[in-house]
Symmetry: D2
Subunit: 473 residues, 4 copies
């Protein structure tokens, strides 16, 4: 089947499909047209890049599998996971270090649902939904993180039971759900939103054990967009963030009706916890795959900044470059290894990345991210935050002074281009966005440590020690 005969949508088709009755708010106001909106439109067009990427003949081999998007290819072996990782990495590099995420996370959730519901009554619903999404090449968001209220208490002990999303009514044709999910990425520019539980639940918390999917434009679904990255309007100083944006929503389910064929899990608290974990297993692997272009950019920035400043030969520069290389390549190496060590879920036949190795990769990424930022800042210089803006560069009155005085080992134009990129990635709000995501997205540092600890089998090490300590045998 040739690329042209695939089910894959064009970026235009993707964008066009976002024009519906979805209830989206930005800066306190209802947004009539997501595509036309000055900020949300950027996010939508960033999502669209991923569709364009797959249509590019150069990437078709990687992006298309059996006529469908490779994102939808259920992994069956290590090589499939490697391929998925390679696609995520390449597509994110295409997106200028910002992941597209309009199919990555959704398929992570679908694979988890396929595994966890395997052998249960709802499996067919999941399978149908999966096939529907794949055939239509849909864009998907995943709403997992409940708003949680007081972290010291579980769902049923909150003052307001809605602080974890729950079923408030069971009807013949479906369920009514209420609650809100935080940090849902891309919701305003996808077709469907998949909802899964956050965490292990008690036996008496059945109402909160629910997973389902609805179209974004479903009545009662309200998207309150964060404006965190609002206003990166100067493309000269914001070469990445002025064109690439991801917008998170507080995703409110205001008594939303979900028909039974879209309810994938309900009241099975044990399986709810398993689903939460299984999703995260896939999603952390997605995460470390899409972090690679960003950490590569840090290494590349270090090299280009040192060259621009004329400091390539300084010993401290080499020391920092070595550290950055080791950081990037350890994350990459462990990501590759997580795929190579794939495990197969017996009943479903789905391959998943090695949990310990995935968490090693993710934790290494997250733990050292801010140290990496610090080092690249160190290699750059104060100009990161004291430099000129695009209007200065465009001004015939100002530019000559910049050209004269901000040249170094390379001309000012080149040096400032590197510094602007560095500033966007290290010091402006896009940098802050990435810096917070590094610690909290796809599981916090603490969550990663817990998974690391739990996914390690201590028996061989303990047996070794017991043998060595048996002085009297």
């Amino acid at each position: 089947m040739s690329v042209l005969q695939t089910s894959l949508r064009t970026s235009e088709e993707y964008l066009e499909h976002l024009r519906d009755d979805r209830e989206v708010y930005y800066r306190g106001e209802r947004v009539a047209d997501v595509i036309a909106h000055p900020e949300l439109g950027i996010a939508a067009r960033h999502g669209a890049l991923d569709f364009a990427f797959a249509k590019d003949p150069e990437h078709a081999e990687l992006a298309v599998t059996d006529g469908f998007s490779t994102f939808y290819a259920v992994p069956r072996c290590a090589a499939d996971l490697r391929r998925r990782s390679a696609l995520i990495e390449a597509s994110t590099a295409h997106g200028a270090t910002l992941v597209s995420l309009v199919r990555e996370i959704g398929t992570d959730a679908l694979f988890a649902l396929l595994r966890v519901t395997h052998g249960t009554d709802t499996y067919e619903r999941v399978e149908s939904f999966y096939e529907y999404c794949r055939a239509k090449d849909l864009a998907l968001a995943v709403a997992q993180t409940d708003v949680k209220g007081d972290r010291a208490r579980g769902p049923k002990d909150q003052d307001d039971p809605d602080l974890y999303l729950r079923v408030v009514e069971e009807r013949e044709d479906g369920i009514i759900v209420r609650g809100a999910k935080a940090h849902t990425s891309c919701t305003a520019n996808v077709d469907e939103v998949i909802v899964i539980p956050t965490r292990a639940l008690g036996d008496d918390e059945k109402d909160w054990a629910v997973a389902f999917a609805v179209p974004v434009a479903t009545p009662g679904v309200k998207l309150f967009c964060s404006d965190f990255q609002h206003g990166a309007d100067d493309p000269w100083t914001h070469p990445v963030s002025s064109r690439h944006k991801m917008v998170e929503t507080l995703t409110v389910f205001d008594d939303v009706f979900v028909p039974w064929d879209r309810v994938f899990l309900y009241s099975d608290t044990k399986r709810a916890g398993l689903l939460a974990l299984t999703f995260v297993e896939f999603h952390r692997f997605t995460a470390v795959s899409y972090k690679l272009p960003l950490v590569d950019a840090f290494v590349g920035l270090g090299a280009c900044l040192a060259e621009a400043n004329g400091t390539v030969r300084a010993s401290h520069v080499r020391e920092k470059m070595t550290w950055l290389i080791a950081y990037a390549e350890t994350v990459r190496g462990l990501t590759h290894l997580a795929a190579d060590r794939a495990l197969i879920d017996e009943p479903s036949g789905i391959a998943y990345p090695h949990p310990l190795t995935t968490n090693l990769a993710k934790w290494t990424f997250a733990r050292d991210y801010h140290s990496a930022v610090e080092r690249v800042i160190d290699l750059a210089g104060g100009l990161l935050v004291t430099g000129p803006g695009g209007a200065d560069w465009s001004s015939p009155e100002v530019r000559p002074y910049l050209e004269k005085y901000l040249a170094a080992a390379v001309p000012a134009a080149e040096r400032l281009a590197i510094f602007n990129l560095a500033s966007d990635l290290l010091a402006r709000s896009y940098a802050g966005y990435q810096g917070v995501l590094a610690i909290h997205a796809e599981g916090s540092l603490e969550a990663e440590k817990i998974t690391l600890y739990r996914s390690y089998d201590p028996r061989p090490a303990v047996a070794l020690v017991r043998r060595l300590a048996s002085f009297d045998d």
Copy 2:
């Protein structure tokens, strides 16, 4: 003498004085009135806070010395340095973690000039200028860092000799200087700019060995302002940065005439290097003093975030809080000790902070700053970059959802206020600004390490080791 009888200016007097012919550019355009400018006006009013602070009877004892601003009090003993540090700390806390810097850095330079020119022909010029500034309670910028061009080469080996500021003509009544200084803080909202050399110079680099001061409005002085912190327009999400701003300039000296009585050092390359170092000695002490409110805010944020989220009792929260406390208090402790261990410059009688201890304090601050940021981010949560904006909070349609769903162990209003502050200090452009300053301002990490190494006397440690190793005596 009562506070009312001092020479100290009111904030209005300070602001009024900034209205002159100064040549200021912002976003490519000449700024007619710095005070009226939407961005530079914020910076000017932030500078004015410091004058208001001193007029507040509560602070008068600290802020006024012998009828003059305490900033201008030449330190003569350890207690004077402690007092200066306390003033800088208190005034920066008043300025919401952002130093005012309109008199701090200028007096650092003046103290350095008084020390270094002591016993030379130009000492009287320095003294006159110092007395003039003190009597008029002037606001001062210091332009030290040359734009430097290719870092692998010194001033005279650059393709363009102007890449380090230099004397291009000597006249009977003064000198003509040309060049540019980078990262000059507050230049657009001070009265005078003091220029000092960056570094040690070769014997054949006399033209670059020059220190002087001119009013900001001097012909040929052109200030190209950075717009790095432009547009923090929403005070709800930017509680600090929407009201407190410091603006750096690329400060160009386009063949500027400086009369002899304002030339403090010229052609003495040895003394030029000494001046550079002496200034930094005072200025790093200023720096660690004004960093204290920021690191305190990190500790306070950690505590408030944990309380708001309901995670106070989590063991990892205590671990991180302990680290943050140790960080803040080590910087504070070493700063106090740097004052307490004051040394006295014999000829001039000027006290200066203990160089080793000052650099320990500064390096400790800088080295661990990004780790501190990481920990507070960790204590907060992803909401730092996915939360609502001020317009959402003001919207009657949106706010109820925020109030319902973003409450936790405290009501949403309080929690979001803490998160907004955290986001401003940890993830938005103000955070990036502070993050870069931590590494580069007042000397880079590498510069601090070099000074640390040089200011240590290894002889006692070496003698101890030689004694211990003398096995055969």
Copy 3:
């Protein structure tokens, strides 16, 4: 009063006094004469060094206060604490980086007892005992750490109630105690052993709330010496550890009778916890004071090793030296500051080091100790563990080869002397001893972190944050 008229004992008097009926075991055998024992004798003579130090006219001013040993001088102000710290540092340097500890820890306990019992019935007993020890210039051990059994359980919940030392019988003339204390330093070569509780106790754990002192030779007191440092017999390769030794005991109280005038605290569980903490407050300050010669030796070793190897100019050598200097001087600086910030216990008038600062100093020391070791090892080379021994150096057959081939930038004799010292401090069992003490002695890393956290007053930082976050006022 001249030095000769003091109550201070000579080292001979100290040693002679150790010959009594004390029940000491070493390697499974009862030791008849501690002084004559090949290993314990080294420890005793190391303890004696401290008496010799005080008799040296050069040190008399520091070592003698009002005719008594300065160790016994109750601190009343910051200067007293500085002086005490200086004495401990100087005497430890005299002892070749190994603290003497025969009066340091005992007076820490006495000061704590004087503070905690002040205003209670037993205060006079403490005071009498203190005066007796001071007048006789006695050597004292402190047995604090209970053997503790299962750490997950408190004293009364252990399978064996003796796992925390306790009162098993109350008699008219005194009490009978049973139990064992671990890690008691110097017990075999002191005159008296002071016993204090480890920790906070429950209201129903009165039997364990006991503090007292007995002569080491008291019936039922059994000292089981650790042989950890046994056999450092070659002074050429062990320049420090072959001559300086501290021996810890498992100190068993096998139904030991303590007369009432030696019982300082009994059944007051609240005060028992307070005593444990108060002792540690003084003792951590002692600890950071006596760690200074060791960390100085690391700096000195780094310098001498680099010189011997010819690597002084390598950039990584300077990097490591700078780190080592910063480490040593941060610990020293914070130690000085802990004294300078002395607090006065109101009722007793006793000055004590600032708890937060003391714990900062101790934690900084402990947290980075192994990194310091790593860096000095790095500066040295593999020869640390592959070099020749003293018998090689003495052999006319072997030595010429060593002289020829192990010379570098300095002759082999000098280089090997430095390497031997380095090996003793970094790689041999003395190094292991110091490495474990760094983490566990005078409170573990975790204990220091808890104290740090608790001794910090968060209110100013929280108030600052609340003020900054109050966007709407």
Copy 4:
């Protein structure tokens, strides 16, 4: 071919072969019989373990390849490298965390020689020697590190030209070499010693460009053994080091004759540098493979110590365990990956481990080793250095007290066995030995960083950055 028909020697055959005229010195005296020597005999028997291991039918599949020792199997693909790594790991675990090294390092050198001499005149000599060693199943040492003298100078600029091993005479039948190599492991208990150069040499340093092999018993070869681990005589407290030992020598070549057929490289300075690097490439892979049992033992110790103390549930214990697991598994993961990413040397067809990944693994191991030690010490307790000795445990008088008072969550016997193992690995001289090896063996930290930096291809990262920074295209 069955295991019994292989060329592999028994441990007895290996030991018997060590009885020859070799000139070995220990503690200044000539050793008549290495096997009978109380210390060197332990090292020899440790080496013998590896031969016993291969004869064990359980390990035969791994240890034997085509009838020869797997150590001698020239790697041709990734799987071969994995197999070699697995053998090294298993055999080192068998050797109680201490590598045998009697064939590992020698084959590293042989593989390097086969690669580097491929296509040159001496290739056949190398091949013959390789086949001879393989057929005889010989034990080999490699003497690489020159004693080096002043590190600031190269071979020809030393005061004494012998400070790097060199050819002092060329004869018709061979060459005469003079000089000394440091840190040669196992020399006293192997059959042959292979000598290779340390480093890149200048064009005018041809005399130092020499690689060869001689039997250890060759006249003029003098082995001066280090006694660093002398005297670990108590197996109760030294469960590992009393039975497992590796001894390094200063290996002197006192005008040693080497026949031409044993001269593998001579006067080709370029190839000499290449050989040094190629050897290290193989040898670092060997190193990370044999470090795995040691880092596993750290994890196992942490788990067993926490269990013995009753602290398993403490949050700081889990934190430290997680770190230790991440450390061990990152080293293991990168080691596996270094094999999986094998490169093939085209002309010779020899597979070698991926240089960047190997150095990542080695650097990760080395950089964090001392932190790992610190954490296990932290999990243990002070008893590591204050506990009883074997004679105490054997004493009927003492043991009851130990049993009563040193029990915790497990009986004293078990707890002390774990502590003794921990002490041996963390605090005694074996610990110091491993601690120094971690930093210096198989290349120092600095050497690993240089190789990391050099083996990284920066072009993709730089290209990414250039693309992202090209704002105007």
